[in-house]
Symmetry: C2
Subunit: 117 residues, 2 copies
């Protein structure tokens, strides 16, 4: 180790993209919509007062992050959530626990093993 500094790790890049994609309210709203089921670009655009190209750019950010996938059939592009990417971001946050929180976690799981009354 000639370099003592903290370097960005592999896997970090994925989180960069995922959290950046999530940092925009329009993109989060699209993700919420897609959790109800697949939708086309126009369907996703409909709730927003924004030009189509603007919408498409947001979709590109979401797709580049891995949070959604899309497939074009004929002239229609169908978009859907990639649950695995959402779960990875959720899990990263799940691991961010202080020692205090971890103690509470262990107490709770201990209590779960005790029969009621």
């Amino acid at each position: 180790m000639l370099n003592n500094q903290t370097e960005p790790q592999a896997g970090d890049q994925e989180l960069d993209g995922v959290f950046h994609a999530l940092a925009d309210p329009t993109r989060r709203a699209m993700l919420v919509r897609l959790c109800e089921g697949p939708a086309t670009v126009s369907q996703l655009a409909e709730p927003f007062g924004m030009s189509l190209p603007g919408i498409v750019q947001h979709l590109q950010v979401l797709e580049a992050s891995g949070l959604i996938r899309s497939e074009k059939i004929g002239r229609v592009r169908s978009c859907s959530v990639n649950p695995a990417a959402v779960r990875r971001a959720e899990n990263w946050l799940g691991q961010r626990r202080t020692p205090g929180e971890r103690r509470l976690d262990r107490l709770e799981s201990f209590l779960d093993t005790q029969p009621p009354h």
Copy 2:
């Protein structure tokens, strides 16, 4: 409702800040460090090959998002995680489940109620 468009909701702004703060690898590394316990600005800076002002700017982003808090005592600023903010972001992601995932969730919780064997 004269406006049919989707407007950013209250509470969205908080998530904007939190996810934006999380989108940077340096800031995530700082958060990881702070989950082990409070630290000063210099201690947080030490692993990174970056100027102090750069570090302080990252800390300001983290604090503005609510993910961390800090207090200056004498000439030293002590920083610590705000677990509640981390949990809110985690919970938002936890709610992003497709109908398919929700079915699996229900199956698992049903199996948990069954005695083993």
